[in-house]
């Protein structure tokens, strides 16, 4: 990894290859309710990642002997579509996919109030349509939203992002090339309200200081992602409230009020204000 082999992923001005600064997230969009048949669902776009999370449950678990007597089981199925990556991926589930399914299940189990549904399973399907680094994090973020959409009671949402090490700098939200050519990758799943880390892994070579920096940067990123998740969940209902508030009502049969006459004031002429230049939306 030393000497000429190192790829320059950050320039002297601190800009990454995709123009972001070291502590900047990729643009994120979350849509709720994209899979009609599921009990809850969400689609996340995070940079070029496109992932759908669908929740079915709580529902009965078969075979019955696998069920837990006092709580719900959370099963996660993370799968990458064959066309989600540059070199077509074989359709059969790989060991990597199984491992990711496992760490996501564990994270979700820590926040879901599983004791409310003994002997059942809550199945979380994660279908990656396009992958560009940090898919397990984007998946966990979407899974939390999908569970909330399904009405599964939780102590809080999990927000997830990967930090990493490139050219000796700790950066937030690695994308594909940084993941491949950098020196380290730390996916983190964090719940802001609870201040809990429910998922954390590390690949690479970090000094302790670098790791601590990476951890804290991950927490900062998770806090930003949390606001986006929250907005998406509330939006579904607040937008309906806004719509019905402006719905034209059938005319009430009251007498129209008689407005009291108001002396019309002469308004001083105002100079038209200059519009400030619109900021680029980075969501």
């Amino acid at each position: 990894m030393a000497g000429d082999g190192i790829v320059q992923l950050i320039d002297e001005k601190g800009k990454r290859l995709d123009g972001r600064s070291v502590d900047e997230l990729r643009p994120i969009e979350i849509k709720i309710g994209v899979i009609e048949n599921a009990d809850g669902s969400a689609e996340i776009r995070m940079g070029k990642n496109i992932i759908i999370a669908a929740v079915y449950g709580p529902r009965e678990l078969h075979p019955k002997h696998r069920a837990l007597p006092n709580e719900a089981l959370i099963q996660c199925f993370y799968r990458m579509s064959t066309f989600s990556v540059n070199d077509r991926k074989s359709p059969a589930p790989s060991r990597r996919e199984k491992e990711i399914s496992m760490v996501i299940s564990s994270a979700l189990t820590s926040v879901v109030l599983t004791e409310k549904f003994p002997r059942t399973t809550i199945d979380v399907y994660l279908q990656v349509l396009q992958a560009d680094g940090g898919t397990r994090c984007a998946s966990l973020t979407a899974a939390s939203v999908a569970l909330a959409d399904a009405g599964v009671p939780m102590r809080g949402l999990i927000s997830s992002v990967a930090t990493g090490l490139v050219n000796d700098k700790v950066i937030l939200d690695l994308y594909d090339i940084e993941d491949q050519k950098g020196s380290g990758d730390v996916p983190i799943g964090y719940s802001p309200i609870l201040d809990e880390v429910s998922l954390i892994q590390l690949d690479g070579v970090f000094t302790v200081d670098q790791f601590v920096e990476a951890l804290n940067l991950g927490v900062k990123g998770a806090n930003e992602i949390y606001e986006i998740q929250k907005k998406a969940l509330k939006q579904k209902y607040t937008s309906i409230r806004a719509e019905v508030a402006v719905e034209p009502k059938v005319e009430p049969k009251e007498e129209p009020k008689i407005e009291p006459k108001v002396e019309s004031k002469v308004e001083p002429k105002e100079e038209p204000k200059e519009e400030p230049p619109k900021k680029e939306q980075s969501e």
Partner: protein
């Protein structure tokens, strides 16, 4: 110092802080130390010294006494397994199915209820260690024939019914339909004309969509009167 930090009827999400101090609490709330948090996406309800978060979505959880609409999915020699839209299937045993005593030698369960039958039934008992048990041997319960079946979120059934039945009675009257609402979110509608049934269903779906808003009863009344 007791303090509620969100407004009544505000939409909250899992993890939102809703109150501090001493409160009695119900559905959708978890207490940590002296703080109360929402566990659901729902409507915060402030009832003085009692707080809860009313779910906007979620599976039906059986409660003894609930009237529900079930679908027979398996027939056994002396019992049936019934889908009631809950995380658990319900069991209907033959002796709870008919008023007459069931005789396993002479009677055939398949002739009473067969796979696919829709039944109006009541939750007899339910505890977390066993599947819910249901009964149909009371007046008014049993197989539903004809009509139309729809499913809405169980959480919105109270809104469809309305205070003392005001909403559902208005819908029945103005669409000239018979409507039976199951606590599990399943609703059976029957009218003399297809258009009446479809209108009733359209209205019910609108109630479901706007259950979390104000002024719904008026809008529904307008919707029904305008189509007369």
């Amino acid at each position: 110092m007791s303090k509620i930090v969100v407004e009544n009827h505000e939409i909250v999400i899992p993890g939102d802080l809703i109150a501090e101090g001493e409160y009695r609490y119900g559905e959708g709330v978890v207490k940590r130390g002296k703080e109360y948090y929402s566990t659901l996406v729902g409507l915060f309800q402030d009832k003085g010294d009692f707080i809860q978060v009313k779910a906007l979505k979620g599976k039906y959880i059986p409660r003894p006494g609930d009237l529900v609409i079930g679908k027979i999915i398996e027939v056994g020699l002396t019992s049936w397994i019934v889908n009631i839209g809950a995380p658990y299937s319900a069991i209907l045993i033959a002796n709870n199915a008919t008023e007459k005593r069931f005789d396993p030698v002479k009677d055939d369960t398949r002739r009473i209820f067969d796979v696919g039958d829709i039944i109006l039934t009541k939750i007899a008992s339910f505890d977390r260690t066993r599947d819910p048990s249901i009964l149909t041997n009371e007046r008014g319960l049993g197989k539903l024939r004809g009509g139309r079946l729809i499913e809405i979120e169980a959480a919105h059934i109270p809104r469809v019914i309305g205070k003392k039945g005001t909403m559902i009675n208005m819908v029945k009257r103005l669409t000239r339909t018979q409507i039976i609402t199951g606590q599990n979110g399943r609703i059976w509608v029957q009218g003399k004309k297809v258009e009446d049934e479809l209108k009733a269903i359209e209205v019910i779906r609108k109630i479901e969509l706007e259950a979390h808003t104000q002024g719904l009863t008026d809008r529904i009344r307008d919707m029904l009167s305008n189509s007369q």
